[in-house]
């Protein structure tokens, strides 16, 4: 009886419909990616043809390489920077302007992404930077920092500070205490933050598209150019492949966070 009064009739059905709404579009893309017919919405039988054409598409492979390169460097840089900032903001004593400092670290989340994109575009044009890959890497590192920062901060806040202090009491140097006690304990948070930064970088369209003049085309920008040419089964195959990778990454991140 106690749990009865908390239940509301219809919420279950509503949730079911909601999950259908959430997954139907994804299912449609996956379904049509196996369509043998060139015209997307006319079913012409099952085929893996579009996967083979997608995987042998040199422009696509090039875009994937660009994205992976940018995302990898941006992830490493932003995670290191975010980890340093989180250690100070959570563990540091007598940090002045803690609130403002934290807001600055999270700044990319407070601005609409198009404003971030315009900011770096104007910056690079004023500085005269023309290397496309370098521009992308700098911009991605910037907006990945808060995504790496938040999980690390959460993990640090959930960790018992006494453990570090015990290590220090036992004459561990600050560095040893960090490397042997703090870092292993917050590692899941660091991984989750890095993963989030990686996915955000791989997924970015707005900034990469606006900067897209230096000849470095990322995967979402390439997909956008394909969509502009019209819906095609090959596009569905590419989308499906991306979704598979995303699902694997999301699952790993989810399991990591669950361990917390």
């Amino acid at each position: 009886m106690t749990s009865n009064v908390r239940r509301y009739p219809g919420f279950g059905l509503f949730s079911l419909i909601f999950f259908v709404y959430l997954y139907l579009p994804i299912a449609v893309v996956v379904f049509y990616s196996f369509n043998a017919n060139r015209i997307v919405s006319n079913w012409g039988g099952f085929s893996l043809h579009w996967y083979t054409t997608a995987l042998s598409n040199a422009a696509l492979v090039g875009a994937v390489k660009t994205s992976l390169f940018v995302a990898t460097i941006a992830t490493v840089l932003s995670t290191i920077v975010a980890l340093m900032a989180a250690l100070v903001l959570v563990r540091g004593r007598n940090v002045r302007f803690r609130r403002v400092s934290e807001t600055v670290v999270n700044l990319p989340l407070l601005l609409p992404e198009i404003v971030v994109a315009v900011a770096v575009l104007i910056l690079f044009s004023e500085v005269g930077l023309t290397n496309g890959l370098l521009k992308l890497t700098i911009a991605h590192t910037t907006f990945c920092i808060p995504f790496a920062f938040l999980p690390i901060r959460a993990r640090l806040q959930g960790m018992d500070a006494d453990l570090e202090e015990a290590a220090r009491d036992l004459y561990a140097s600050a560095w040893v205490a960090f490397r042997r006690v703090t870092l292993p304990l917050i590692l899941p948070g660091v991984f989750a933050g890095a993963m989030l930064a990686f996915v955000i970088s791989m997924d970015d369209f707005i900034t990469s598209n606006l900067l897209n003049s230096g000849g470095a085309t990322t995967l979402p920008v390439y997909i956008f150019s394909l969509i502009k040419q019209g819906v095609s089964p090959q596009l569905n195959a590419i989308s499906t492949l991306i979704m598979i990778v995303s699902v694997v990454l999301a699952t790993v991140a989810f399991l990591l966070q669950r361990r917390q």
Partner: protein
């Protein structure tokens, strides 16, 4: 006398605080804070002859948002950009409200499940968020398009034989926006429902509160912090949305995000683009400040109570 024992804290030197924060702050300063200042400068600059801009002071870009300049330099009111601003705000508000309405029952339902089922459902809610944004928006082109899934289904059922395309409308954009951002609403709402003490709900029933009264007077007010957090997470990115208006709005019915992008791309009017960026940023700041003030007032009330 009253001396606190000195604890062997991790960063002993206060300099460590500065050093640790330096990279993050330096990056934000160089790539965002100074450039946003430059955007403000550009928004008061003259448009260059071949795109770009010259640092010659003018308020023309802001005037251009409201007026057309006639042949003899007279200003003629033109609401074209104002309509874009209004559409952006209205669509963002509508998205936030729809997300709120959809999120609450789903989050509530999830919170009633057993732990393992709860975990699975939360995983399912977050999963689409990890899937590429552009792919998720693109999927709606297949569904809403001229010969899309919905048109086909309606034709097969004989309901609507010649339905025009649902694409390139405000409705299509709204559907896309809700779809893109709803996970950001469900998670904080779910978190606040989880914190809710079931005893309060039962107490309300014991005192003869009906289900609806309990929902309205007990559950919803206690979930307000989560809803407010979710509203910020959905509303702010909506204001700057680019993909949804470009792909589902077809570039004709614009929002501020793709209007800005257009000025820095094909239209080559950087000062106008910068001016619209500043307007967009101000809108976001006003909203965030308003929320901040509300939160502070609430804190104040709770502290005095």
């Amino acid at each position: 006398m009253n001396q606190r024992p000195k604890l062997p804290g991790w960063p002993k030197l206060s300099d460590w605080n500065v050093l640790g924060l330096l990279p993050a702050h330096l990056i934000m300063l160089m790539t965002l804070i100074i450039p946003v200042g430059i955007i403000a400068l550009v928004s008061f600059s003259t448009r260059g002859p071949y795109g770009g801009f010259d640092y010659v002071f003018t308020t023309a870009p802001y005037k251009q948002i409201l007026f057309n300049e006639g042949w003899s330099g007279e200003l003629e009111f033109n609401p074209q950009y104002l309509i874009v601003v209004a559409r952006t705000v209205i669509l963002s508000l509508a998205t936030t409200i729809i997300c709120l309405a959809l999120s609450f029952p789903v989050a509530y339902f999830i919170s009633l499940q057993k732990t393992s089922a709860k975990m699975l459902l939360i995983y399912l809610v977050t999963l689409p968020f990890w899937v590429s944004m552009i792919v998720r928006v693109y999927s709606w082109i297949i569904i809403l398009g001229n010969d899309g899934v919905i048109a086909k289904a309606l034709r097969a059922l004989g309901i609507n034989e010649n339905m025009g395309s649902l694409l390139f409308t405000d409705t299509a954009m709204l559907i896309g926006l809700v779809y893109s951002y709803i996970p950001l609403m469900i998670l904080p709402v779910f978190a606040s429902i989880e914190k809710l003490d079931p005893a309060l709900v039962e107490a309300s029933h014991d005192l003869y509160g009906s289900r609806l009264t309990t929902l309205r007077r007990v559950i919803l007010p206690l979930c307000r912090p989560g809803m407010a957090a979710g509203a910020i997470l959905v509303f702010v990115p909506c204001l700057g949305a680019v993909l949804e208006p470009v792909l589902l709005g077809g570039g004709k019915t614009m929002m501020m995000g793709n209007l800005i992008q257009l000025q820095f791309g094909a239209a080559r009017n950087w000062p106008l683009g910068a001016a619209i960026s500043i307007v967009l940023m101000c809108a976001v700041m006003v909203f965030l400040l308003w929320r901040g003030v509300q939160a502070m007032r609430k804190e104040g009330r709770e502290a005095s109570a």
